[in-house]
């Protein structure tokens, strides 16, 4: 994909090298595996119960104009990562100042 936000490899001695691009959720910063050739419109989500990868439609924040994970998409509010970090740091500074 154009401009991937991450790149991952899995080296298994009994299988061919597995490579895939990832994108970042612009709200929670989590790493999302994307299906090749879909321009990050299809996410590959790991189902821990069935123990397999499943395809899910991707999501994006129309304020940030960046991909978001499905959990942040379900929340339905725009909470940019930088804002969350700054809020956490502000609270931390207040606690340290006491």
């Amino acid at each position: 994909m154009l401009k991937p936000q991450g790149y991952a490899t899995i080296v298994d001695p009994e299988r061919p090298l597995t490579e895939f691009d990832t994108v970042q959720c612009c709200h929670c910063n989590c790493v999302i595996r994307v299906k090749p050739g879909t321009a990050s419109t299809v996410y590959l989500i790991f189902d821990e119960v069935a123990w397999r990868w499943i395809e899910e439609p991707g999501a994006s924040c129309w304020h940030c104009m960046q991909p978001v994970c499905l959990r942040c998409h379900d929340l339905g509010v725009c909470r940019p990562l930088e804002r969350q970090l700054q809020e956490s740091e502000r609270i931390g500074r207040q606690l340290l100042a006491r």
Partner: protein
């Protein structure tokens, strides 16, 4: 500001982290994880593993690991790292940054593009931990690179 690397080892546990990385309690600085590797150095076997990188707000109890600066000329990092936890870190619910299923005999590596690193805030004792919620009790290792701001 400099980059450092941490290697953490333990016998995999389904409840305790392999390793953790937090901002210092009194001199916190923001950190950006840009490269991480998971694997097992045990005898090759076909056991399922699930590796997770999750945000934490306290490191728990662990064996201290001294981060190694990538450039020896850089000032030593303020961040604190640990491995082989005996008391779990305080993980933030639903704040899973990376979740990877992996065969025991396989090795995984993820590298961030510039500007897309996993970031922890400059808040005292905030950081991330690496868990193996699905695992077999074998020796595992994780190595990560962090750029401290």
């Amino acid at each position: 500001m400099g980059a450092f690397v941490v290697e953490a080892n333990r016998t995999a546990s389904a409840t305790l982290p392999v390793g953790s990385q937090i901002a210092d309690a009194t001199r916190p600085r923001r950190g950006k994880l840009y490269d991480i590797m998971f694997g097992s150095e045990a005898s090759p076997a076909d056991n399922p593993f699930l590796w997770r990188v999750q945000r934490i707000t306290a490191a728990g109890t662990s064996t201290a690991v001294t981060p190694t600066m990538v450039d020896p000329g850089d000032v030593a990092t303020e961040a604190d790292a640990g491995e082989n936890h005996t008391i779990d870190a305080t993980a933030t619910a639903n704040a899973i940054l990376l979740s990877v299923p992996l065969n025991q005999r396989a090795t995984f590596r993820w590298v961030a593009a510039p500007g897309s690193e996993l970031v922890y805030p400059s808040t005292a004792s905030n950081g991330f931990a690496v868990y193996t919620p699905t695992s077999s009790a074998v020796a595992v290792t994780t190595t990560w690179f962090v750029l401290e701001m």
